[in-house]
């Protein structure tokens, strides 16, 4: 239903004209490597579902909403019919109505009905609550909706427990504040009709695995109190919303992914800053490019939102822009503002309002503005660097897009491999979303903690399942430890402990190292009103420091060893001391021109093969592995030039990580004829390229996934779980050639490729894993294709940090990587004309080579 007025407005669209003009501007034209236009799309309307309460339809009409968008009508109809629903539509397509309406409908029909809304952040919860108030204003009085989170005062908490119709909370509060105290929430649990989970895509990896278990506990309690709530989830666009939500909920879910919301024309520019150093692949700073572009946009009076990747760079870019667009008077708010965590709530509300009423012309923000906080619709969104996932990219780009005028989204690439890959392959963003949200609710470490919490909440019956998980052995184990008491076919919690508190939803193992800022600067980087304080529990007498963050035990020796320069959200900290026993790292902020890179020795032992081996020439598997790592020394590396300016020893115990991995082992026969140096460099390059591509496919942060390449790797196929990993004497490390951080240790060289097969591993950074390895094993073809395109598309000569790492003295890193990719794809090194080896089954030649 393209209404004529929209089209007419588009034909003489001032924004489109301004963008056309800007596109031709000399300082812009050369930098845009690709421009995509998403055509305008008219609204698809549908009548409000007949089952919806008439008062509610009246209220909607009173607010000017005569019809629903098609996705809203469908979602509401299914939810009212008692189906679990996940709505996957773009930013600002009216998703919140999809869950608000069924909840209000239930309340209108039964004032005792209750609903639980889960939002990943407190700010979002507040924002949604005020949006709810606007509709509720047209309804009979009496609706009580309230947030219940860490900021809720005790007096209000009591009232919310007793009488809140809609309880808006977050997963942490549900986990420690509601479920373990369920007898105080009897009314909520008895009358719970709807559970709303917004921003579903943010629950992935360990965090999602925890949420799945929190939901298992919630369901168990609902069952006890006799309710069976319908779940309505909303998600940004990801590849597998249905799979993710079904894994989270362990029930069939209806997936609604056709948006009926209208959209004006949108343009996407892929912006690559010019090369400064062609050989090394160093490009002009993305921040400076953003300054130039934003200035041009402001000059054309286009309201702009700039997303940067760290809080530090928000302030840098803001400083640049405010110099060019100063406030009307000193001390008065100007047209360009910053927005990040650490700003006071009132300040943030003022900026949001300024964006809506147009008085603020540009905002530089971290991803704090990415989630659905209402700032109205803007003319342009500029992303300084790829935000880390395609879903986030679309969320941020979606901030621009008015109903009747064109809008612009720009992705400015940095030097990083992923950024460079994306500007060269815009189809990854523009075509079907390649990312999947992966979780593993049955990760033993995650599950184990939640089974304790669940046993605390309600006794388990023998044979009772926890969601889909069989937890009999786990409960027997807890009974042996004296945490639960088993008798008469039941497991009763019988320990003097509050188990939910011991589980951190953000990590799998309990032993995270807490990073504490010992300086007392009141407004150090990232200081926020909701900042946590270590307080008197600090390990050092009299040390009252702010908690900067946490790193898991496995990463700590590499990131926060003594004398390390730790970078957190763009701010540098010097590590004074790592207290390994207390699991605390004491740091203070510094500004230095270098960072530190730890060199580790690592070995991987395969414990169990869960899938594979498949393929010929190169055999791929996935399964359980043990990674043993010892951080030995660190280097001080100067920024930009990457020269080493110092080094020191690290004295810390060896680390074991038991996790899942996918690996590619090359049959020496298939490598026959290749120079040893080529193989070695190629393995490194392949590990790097696969790692970059895997981060795209798994929607994960590069730190969540580790990589490792070994010249003498897995001897395949192992007949039984591998022999124990040898002790880590330097000579027995098995010639590791590449570590996580992308450096090369001075490992001793041996001639020939005796021992195991040359192998590249990608492993899950979380103990026990959350499913990346299995996914990568299954998505082998996509992975290799993306890795191949990454290598092919790089503008460097023989390898650079943006693709496969720097070339060695004698070997072209790109071509040797390409050779190994070809072998991995089709079992032979020769690439036939027009065949990238990924379209067809392995050739007979490859198969015979591997049998040889």
């Amino acid at each position: 239903m393209a209404d004529a007025s929209t089209l007419a407005a588009l034909s003489d669209d001032p924004v489109a004209a301004a963008l056309d003009e800007l596109r031709r501007h000399p300082s812009v034209a050369g930098r845009i490597v690709h421009e995509a236009r998403l055509e305008a799309r008219p609204a698809r309307h549908a009548p409000w579902p007949a089952a919806l309460h008439p008062r509610l339809v009246e209220a909607l009409r009173a607010r000017g909403m005569e019809h629903a968008y098609s996705h809203q009508a469908e979602a509401v109809e299914r939810a009212l019919a008692g189906r679990d629903v996940v709505v996957v539509t773009p930013t600002a397509s009216g998703k919140s109505l999809c869950y608000t309406l069924p909840v209000l409908d239930a309340w209108l029909r039964d004032p005792e009905a209750r609903a639980l809304w889960l939002f990943p952040t407190k700010a979002l919860a507040q924002d949604q609550l005020s949006a709810l108030g606007e509709i509720a204003a047209h309804l009979p009085p009496g609706l009580r909706a309230a947030t219940f989170d860490g900021d809720t005062p005790p007096g209000v908490r009591r009232a919310v427990r007793q009488a809140g119709h809609i309880v808006v909370t977050n997963q942490e509060m549900l986990h420690t504040g509601v479920l373990p105290h369920h007898t105080g929430w009897v009314r909520l649990f008895q009358q719970l009709r709807y559970v709303v989970i917004d921003e579903l895509h943010s629950y992935r990896g360990v965090f999602g695995s925890h949420l799945a278990n929190v939901l298992r506990r919630l369901r168990r309690l609902c069952h006890f109190y006799g309710s069976d709530p319908v779940v309505i989830a909303c998600s940004a666009t990801i590849a597998n919303p249905r799979q993710l939500s079904e894994r989270l909920l362990e029930r069939p879910v209806d997936c609604i992914d056709e948006s009926g919301a209208p959209r004006a024309e949108r343009r996407l520019w892929f912006w690559n800053p010019p090369l400064v150093d062609g050989a090394m692949g160093v490009r002009r700073s993305a921040t400076l490019e953003a300054r130039r572009l934003t200035t041009e946009l402001l000059r054309r009076n286009l309201q702009t939102l700039v997303f940067t990747r760290s809080r530090g760079s928000v302030e840098v870019l803001l400083t640049y822009l405010q110099r060019l667009h100063p406030p009307p008077a000193p001390g008065r708010p100007g047209p360009v503002r910053g927005y990040r965590s650490g700003y006071l709530p009132l300040e943030r509300r003022a900026i949001e309002a300024g964006l809506r009423d147009g008085s603020v012309r540009a905002v530089v923000s971290t991803n704090a503005l990415e989630l659905g906080i209402d700032v109205g619709r803007l003319d342009a969104a500029v992303l300084v660097g790829y935000p880390g996932s395609v879903a986030s990219t679309w969320q941020q780009l979606g901030r621009a897009g008015r109903r009747d005028t064109a809008s612009l989204g720009v992705l400015i690439a940095t030097d990083s491999p992923l950024d460079q890959f994306l500007v060269r392959h815009p189809e990854y963003l523009l075509e079907s979303p390649p990312e999947s949200g992966l979780i593993d609710p049955d990760n033993l470490l995650v599950l184990g903690g939640h089974v304790q919490a669940a046993a605390f909440e309600l006794a388990f019956d023998e044979g009772e399942r926890f969601g889909r998980a069989d937890v009999g052995a786990l409960l027997d184990c807890l009974a042996e430890d004296g945490l639960v008491h088993r008798s008469a076919g039941r497991y009763l919690w019988s320990a003097d402990a509050f188990p939910a508190e011991a589980i951190s939803l953000r990590s799998a193992c309990a032993g995270n190292v807490v990073i504490i800022d010992t300086s007392t600067t009141p407004d150090g980087p990232g200081q926020g009103p909701h900042g946590q304080w270590a307080g008197s529990s600090g390990g050092r007498p009299g040390s009252h420091g702010r908690v900067v963050g946490e790193v898991d035990q496995f990463a700590a020796p590499v990131l926060v060893h003594d004398d390390a320069v730790y970078i957190h959200q763009g701010a540098q900290y010097h590590v004074e001391r790592l207290d390994w026993e207390e699991k605390r790292a004491y740091v203070h902020p510094v500004t230095v021109d270098h960072h530190t890179v730890a060199e580790t020795r690592m070995s991987i032992g395969v414990l169990e093969i869960d899938g594979g081996p498949e393929g010929a020439g190169c055999r791929r598997c996935h399964g359980e592995v043990r990674i043993t790592r010892l951080a030995a020394i660190y280097k001080k590396v100067r920024f930009l030039t990457h020269e080493t300016i110092g080094a020191g020893p690290i004295v810390l115990p060896e680390q074991d990580l038991h996790t899942s991995a996918a690996w590619w082992a090359f049959d020496p026969a298939a490598l026959a004829g290749l120079d040893r140096a080529v193989v070695e460099t190629g393995l490194l390059g392949l590990a790097a390229a696969l790692h970059h591509a895997a981060c795209l496919l798994c929607m994960c942060d590069p730190r969540d996934l580790g990589r490792h390449a070994e010249l003498r790797g897995a001897a395949l196929p192992p007949s039984a779980p591998a022999a124990p990993v040898p002790p880590l004497a330097p000579a027995a490390v098995g010639e590791p050639v590449e570590m996580v951080a992308g450096w090369r240790p001075a490992a001793e060289r041996r001639e020939g490729l005796a021992g195991g097969w040359p192998t590249v591993y990608l492993y899950d950074g979380v103990p026990g894993g959350v499913g990346f390895a299995e996914h990568l094993f299954g998505a082998h073809r996509d992975l290799l294709r993306a890795a191949g395109e990454l290598v092919d598309g790089c503008g460097c000569q023989a390898g650079c940090p943006s693709c496969v790492g720097p070339p060695s003295a004698s070997v072209d890193a790109r071509s040797s990587t390409r050779t190994l990719i070809a072998i991995a794809a089709r079992g032979k090194a020769v690439i036939d004309e027009g065949d990238d080896g990924l379209g067809e089954a392995p050739s007979p030649l490859g198969a015979s080579a591997s049998r040889a």
Binding site: P180, H181, H182, T183, G184, V186, L444, L445, V446, G448, G449, Q452, A453, A455, F456, E457, L458, A459, G472, A473, L474, D476, C477, L478, E480, D481, G482, L483, H485, R486, S487, A488, G489, R490, L492, W493, S494, A495, D496, A497, F498, P499, A500, A502, I503, S504, S507, A508, C509, A510, G511, Q553, L607, R626, D656, L657, H658, P767, G768
Partner: protein, 457 residues
Amino acid sequence: MSAPTAERAAAVAQLRERIARLGGAAGSTAPRPRPRHDPDAVATRRAESARRGGFEPHPEGDGVAWVRRVSIDLGPFLERAGAPGPATAGQLIRLALGDPGPHTPRWDASAAAVLDLETLGLRGSGVLAFLAGVGIPRGDRLEVDQVLLVDPADERAALLALLGRLAGHRVLVTYNGRSFDVPALRSRLVVNRLDGAVLESGLHCDVLAPVRRLFRDRLGACTLGRAERDLLGFVRHGEVPGSEAPARYQAWLRGAGYEVLEGVVIHNQLDLCGTMVLAARLAAHLEGDMVSPVHPADRYRLAVHLARTGIADSVDEHLRATVDGRRGPWDRHAAHALAARLRRRGGVAEAEAVEILAGLWRSRPGDLRAARALAVSLERLRRHPEALAVAERALELCSRLEGWRLAAARGAPTGGWVADWERRRRRLRGRIAAGQSPPPGPAPGAGVVDPAPLLAN
């Protein structure tokens, strides 16, 4: 209950090995030495040792509740504590709720039931109450029933036994039961699908509340142990501290002998007795037989408590005694409270209040709260020139005080001190100019305040 089969044991062992490989499960406690006893044998041993401690099995619902019954003569304790006798139901109500007035129910002492729980843990719905004591006063004796969870699976039976013992008693007496014992018990009732109406139907006298109101200055942390020691002169013997109770019960659950649990059972019994004796002593305290030695704060706190609970008889007397005792800071608190009461009565009483307030302000010019009350009273008594003098002096003082001191001055009116005083001064000047002041001559309470000494300094 069957012993785990070999298959089951193997599954557990395998799981343990996996958890160990992963580096230990989140939230799990460190592995502890596990007794490898047959659970059935352990259960039998527990039953035997419970019997040895005096617990007897009683069928209750579908299960068994183990109850220990003892009768304790509170007479010697009451005498030692200086209480004339056990608290009557009326006294308990007075203690908890204030003066019931003419509607004092004529219940005898056995309308009360005292409750105390020993639990595993302190918060959350999963906290198991493994030992619950209920005491019913009969004359000078306390008939105590203690219900022990010999097997946690029998929790429902134990709760039923407990509810049966509380039913019909219309005053529930506890120490800190309002925030701990009753909610904890309610949680367990919900989890076991039992009706908790018994807990809600009667009156609840939580003795902690009056102890805290009356004696917080001398006790600090108002634990039952400290109240017994400092108010009753008791020292406990033969028990274990409450904090050890969970670990002892867990040890007993896993096969340790009764001697491990005995101290906990005695602790629970003493809690019941201590609570009842304390209630009796507090009842006497409210009636004027104060706990000796009398602390300087006691009279003031008693007066406040009596005034708040609507028992007005001796409030003024206690306040005057505190003022006369000249022990800070309570003498000033009491003077303020007394002046406020007198002002409410008006007339001659208000004139006395003016005297007290003037004294308060004179001795501490920074006490703007006293000055404000003084000015208001003077104005009400139509002694406008004196009131104006107070306002002018107060404004002068405000101008000399540093900002933070002024902000910290207690009792600030909305809008701040300066604005308040200026408004008052304007109004008083207007009234004086309009001739609203009475002609010079004796006015009620006239001549009490001489502005001159106020303005000196």
